[in-house]
């Protein structure tokens, strides 16, 4: 009887999910991740329920936005992408002139009623515009398409890097790159681009990077050279993760995190709190959860009905991976310190909203199939 009831409830919620045009697999994975995130945030904030509630509110808002976008038909989104892109670039330019400065960078635009980072829009707009542009072209793309796409990607990336916000420009750049990659840029082209870039690396080092960015890279190579300055983050983060051991010190018991040794422990460095409190075992489980989300996204991409959806869903999923890799790599001391949050777990609303809107797009791509069939 109760089993029957359960089954009824299940099928009932299944129907709601279907009606909302959501992907049940992706939705459950995201919900698990978000709950993980709240638990982690509770610990990382020093058992501060208020910040968990604040973050919880953001999660709810972000999920609602995801549902909303999932319900916008794909073709509408596709038509909208050009305006989103143009609007985003316009706002980036506006930021250059009227932007507000926070943490040493000019990233914020204050529209009076809302204060936000236009660069976030580009995280979605760039893959959308490139996917829109390439969707009707013959794949694998030729040099002309490559050049046009490269320009579309380069404009916002450079504008964002100028703010300076290396983390976001990497994410926007890679989102654009993944569309191109999936659209079949030839290996020859990619290899030669890689060679050119690596040859330009010394020039980039000298002219494109800010001093603090150069320090971060140097610090990564030898964090002990400046244990109290820029090396401090990396050293303390490594101590936290390493001291966690196989099973961790237990939730709320991480000394490195609870005693404030880890800087930015509830934002960019939250993974070191996780590593300290849940150990190697917990970290691998978390990474597998992320991998499952990425694979689900790639699966949806592979089964989309048209190129726009395929390219966009693939690129967004891979961008999600870049978040994960850059953040965990940085926290584990493999990559330089770049301001990239741990997706859906780090405290903060901006990237959370963008990411969930991205998943909204992926879900819209998934449901588009049925409309066409």
């Amino acid at each position: 009887m109760s089993q029957q009831l359960n089954a009824d409830a299940l099928s009932y919620s299944r129907r709601i999910i279907d009606a909302l045009r959501l992907d049940p697999v992706l939705l459950s994975l995201l919900l698990i991740l978000a709950s993980f995130g709240s638990l982690m945030l509770y610990s990382a904030s020093g058992a501060d329920m208020a910040s968990v509630v604040r973050q919880g509110t953001r999660i709810v808002v972000a999920f609602m936005l995801m549902v909303a976008i999932a319900n916008v038909p794909l073709r509408v989104l596709r038509k909208f992408s050009i305006w989103l892109y143009l609007g985003g670039v316009a706002m980036l330019i506006a930021v250059m002139f009227f932007g507000e400065v926070g943490k040493g960078a000019q990233r914020w635009l204050n529209l009076g009623f809302i204060r936000f980072q236009p660069s976030e829009i580009l995280k979605l707009a760039v893959p959308m515009i490139v996917a829109t542009y390439l969707a009707n072209r013959v794949l694998p793309i030729g040099l002309r398409e490559l050049l046009v796409s490269a320009v579309l990607v380069a404009i916002p990336v450079l504008l964002i890097a100028r703010q300076p916000d290396l983390g976001t420009s990497i994410l926007v750049g890679s989102a654009g790159f993944f569309v191109l990659f999936l659209a079949g840029v030839r290996w020859r082209v990619m290899i030669s681009l890689g060679v050119i870039l690596s040859m330009m690396a010394p020039l980039l080092w000298k002219f494109a990077l800010h001093d603090y960015q150069r320090t971060r890279i140097l610090t990564l190579l030898n964090p002990e050279s400046d244990p109290l300055g820029s090396g401090y983050h990396i050293i303390q983060s490594k101590i936290a993760i390493g001291s966690g051991g196989i099973y961790g010190k237990g939730w709320l018991n991480g000394t490195q995190s609870q005693l404030d040794f880890i800087p930015e422990r509830s934002t960019d460095f939250i993974f070191s709190v996780f590593g300290e409190e849940f150990g190697f075992f917990g970290s691998v489980v978390l990474l597998l959860l992320y991998l499952a989300i990425i694979f689900r996204g790639l699966y949806i991409a592979a089964h989309a009905t048209e190129n726009f959806g395929r390219l966009l869903a693939g690129a967004l999923s891979l961008t999600f991976f870049v978040y994960l890799f850059v953040n965990t790599g940085m926290v584990a001391g493999m990559l330089p310190v770049v301001g990239v949050p741990l997706p859906l777990i780090s405290y903060g609303g901006t990237s959370m909203v963008t990411l969930m809107m991205g998943f909204g797009l992926i879900m819209s791509i998934r449901s588009a199939k049925r409309f066409l069939v």
């Binding site: 072209r137 013959v138 794949l139 694998p140 030729g142 993944f178 990659f181 999936l182 659209a183 079949g184 303390q236 490594k238 101590i239 936290a240 993760i241 390493g242 001291s243 966690g244 051991g245 196989i246 000394t255 490195q256 005693l259 404030d260 040794f261 590593g275 150990g279 190697f280 970290s283 691998v284 990474l287 992320y290 991998l291 990425i294 694979f295 790639l298 991409a301 592979a302 048209e306 190129n307 395929r310 390219l311 693939g314 891979l318 991976f321 994960l324 890799f325 965990t328 790599g329 584990a332 001391g333 493999m334």
Partner: protein, 616 residues
């Protein structure tokens, strides 16, 4: 362009995209494996290493300084205690720009160059996150001024800490000594571990001698700190053990009487209980306030003390060495009888000077016209020099030196304090070692009246007098009566130790000398009769002494008024009372005081009066 469009084939394109998607998936797995591998290295392979680092990050050892033991006089009057005093302290690790902070702090409180020097010294030997005192003993106004502005300074604290205090100020300073800030030299004699957290150490006197007892044992606190070094909770604690209390033999009331008796003169006085060697008063004048030294004496104050021609910092009672003058006469008198060189009734005729056979030089008596017929009693009572020149001549230096050593002359008493000196009991051997010269007969003569090379410390003189009063039984003089172990709740009494025993040949011999000494005070012709003996309520045995500071030419006259103070004779007096059952032996030396009878004896009497008549 159109040609390419014709080639658009959804199936092929889908296959291309899927191939790329699979490729990307493989890439993600590979890259995540790198992260997992990295985590494996950190969390599994190097776990131990990081675990240690994590603990050393959060756990800090704090030293808890013990409370210094208190010092009481023999009646329980507090002579040294600890009071909370405010200190300005700095935790170096929490200060970004030390120089700027110091500069700013100096707007609110005076920080002398010396404070700064000490602070920098302490800074070098600090443990991480230890708070280092910059200024001690802040007054209320300074505390108020700082407290209002403290919020501007990270890592700057005002802490109340127990600090040594001498409630009686300058009184008994030379008996007690004092504590001061630990400096590099002190670190050589104590273990840095035991003194972690301790800022002061006994520098002189009892405070230094009993440093081990007084200091106590350092406590250890393991605390968990956050990244800013703020203590969050105590993980484990071994409390410090309070230092042991000292109960002195000193009678602070007597001490004060003795100090006041000097009435501004320079000198020393020591009073001893002859029955056990307990030092009842240990005075060296002038005195100074030891509290000045506790919190780092200012240069100006220090120079004033150091450069004063009266040398207040000099502990005369233990370190001052003076010619004993006529105070040696009772001892030589006894020796004469004991060695049967003289008899009590045997007389000599004093004509005002003495001449060795075959020598022209005259050894003068202090009384130019001579004392006339003198037996031993008269020679002591009136302090006839000629009698003792003759006696010394017949005794010879060897016998004299051997005998005097038995009463403790020329050797340290071994008192439980610092800075004690030997004094000198000259002998042939000593002379050879001293200047390689042979001993001259004339030297025996002047030794016989306590002049020449012989030197005594006031403590020595008092202790020898005490030994004399006890017929040759000499106790170890000591300042501490008992040590009160606070933690064990027990008390260790200092045992009175006999360190020398002169075996009298005949009790009668001692009695003769003793009677003569009583006569010094009570006899009408006694040298101290006029100054102290006329109205005294108890029986005293004593002997005056006047020690030459410089030698008078053979034919010159010593005119007191014509001699500048510095070269004036030292006045001495030794005594014990009540004569028949002595309970106190006193030695007084007044530097450049002139005559022992008029200057030193009254001081001794005031001490004895205070002890014998006003004793509660």
């Amino acid at each position: 362009m159109s040609k390419r469009e014709q080639l658009k084939d959804d199936y092929l394109e889908n296959r291309l995209i899927r191939r790329r998607l699979v490729l990307a998936a493989v890439f993600t797995v590979l890259l995540l494996s790198l992260v997992v591998g990295r985590l494996y290295v950190l969390q599994v392979v190097e776990h131990e290493h990081f675990s240690t680092l994590s603990d050393s990050n959060r756990v800090r050892i704090k030293a808890l300084p013990p409370t210094r033991g208190l010092i009481f006089d023999r009646h329980g009057v507090v002579m040294a205690d600890n009071l909370p005093a405010y200190r300005l302290e700095i935790v170096r690790e929490q200060v970004n720009d030390l120089d700027a902070t110091l500069l700013q702090l100096r707007q609110y409180v005076d920080v002398s160059e010396q404070d700064l020097k000490r602070f920098k010294q302490s800074l070098r030997r600090r443990r991480p996150f230890e708070s280092i005192p910059l200024r001690l003993n802040l007054d209320d106004e300074e505390v108020a001024r700082l407290a209002v502005n403290l919020h501007q300074f990270e890592g700057v604290e005002i802490n109340a800490r127990l600090t040594r205090n001498y409630p009686n100020g300058e009184h008994a300073v030379h008996a007690l000594g004092y504590v001061g800030r630990i400096d590099e030299r002190d670190l050589g004699r104590v273990s840095e571990v035991d003194y972690a957290g301790t800022t002061h150490i006994g520098k002189l006197g009892l405070e230094r001698f009993y440093e081990k007892q007084l200091h106590g044992e350092v406590g250890i606190q393991q605390v968990e700190v956050n990244a800013k070094g703020r203590t969050l909770r105590v993980l484990s604690e071994t409390p410090p053990l309070q230092g042991n209390n000292l109960h002195l033999t000193i009678d602070s009331r007597l001490q004060k009487v003795a100090e006041e008796a000097f009435a501004g003169q320079t000198g020393a006085a020591v009073a001893i209980d002859p029955n056990n060697g307990e030092i009842l008063a240990l005075v060296s004048m002038p005195i100074f306030d030891p509290n000045l030294f506790v919190n780092g004496i200012s240069f100006a104050n220090y120079h004033a003390l150091r450069d004063s021609h009266r040398r207040p910092l000099f502990n005369r009672a233990l370190s001052g060495q003076y010619p004993p003058g006529s105070t040696t006469k009772p001892f030589y008198g006894l020796l004469g009888l004991e060695s049967a060189v003289s008899r009590n009734e045997q007389r000599i005729f004093c004509i005002g000077y003495y001449k060795l056979p075959n020598e022209e030089r005259r050894y003068r008596d202090w009384k130019k016209q001579g004392h006339g017929h003198m037996d031993l009693n008269g020679a002591i009572t009136q302090s006839c020099d000629v009698y003792f020149y003759d006696l010394a001549y017949r005794l010879g230096i060897d016998r004299m030196a051997e005998f005097m050593a038995k009463f403790g002359f020329g050797v340290k008493t071994g008192v439980d304090s610092t800075g004690e000196r030997n004094g000198i009991m000259p002998s042939r051997e000593w002379k050879r070692g001293h200047d390689g010269m042979p001993w001259f007969p004339g030297e025996t003569l002047i030794t016989g009246i306590g002049q020449g090379a012989m030197l005594v410390t006031p403590l020595q003189l008092a202790n020898s007098t005490a030994a004399f009063s006890r017929k040759g039984v000499r106790y170890q003089p000591h300042l501490v009566q008992s040590i009160e172990m606070i933690t064990e709740k027990s008390r260790i009494d200092t045992e009175s130790q006999v360190v020398g025993r002169y075996p009298l040949q005949r009790e009668k011999n001692w009695q003769h000398v003793h009677d003569a000494m009583v006569n010094v005070v009570h006899g009408l012709r006694g040298t101290a009769h006029y100054s102290i003996g006329r109205d005294i309520e108890y029986k005293v045995a004593g002997k005056t002494g006047t020690a030459q500071v410089f030698e008078i030419a053979q034919d010159a006259e010593y005119e007191e008024e014509n001699v500048i103070e510095k070269l004036r004779d030292h006045a001495l007096f030794i005594s014990y009372a009540p004569a028949d059952d002595p309970r106190i032996a006193v030695a007084v030396i007044v530097e450049n005081g002139g005559h022992g009878s008029s200057v030193a004896a009254p001081i001794a009497r005031q001490i004895m009066d205070a002890y014998l008549l006003e004793e509660s």
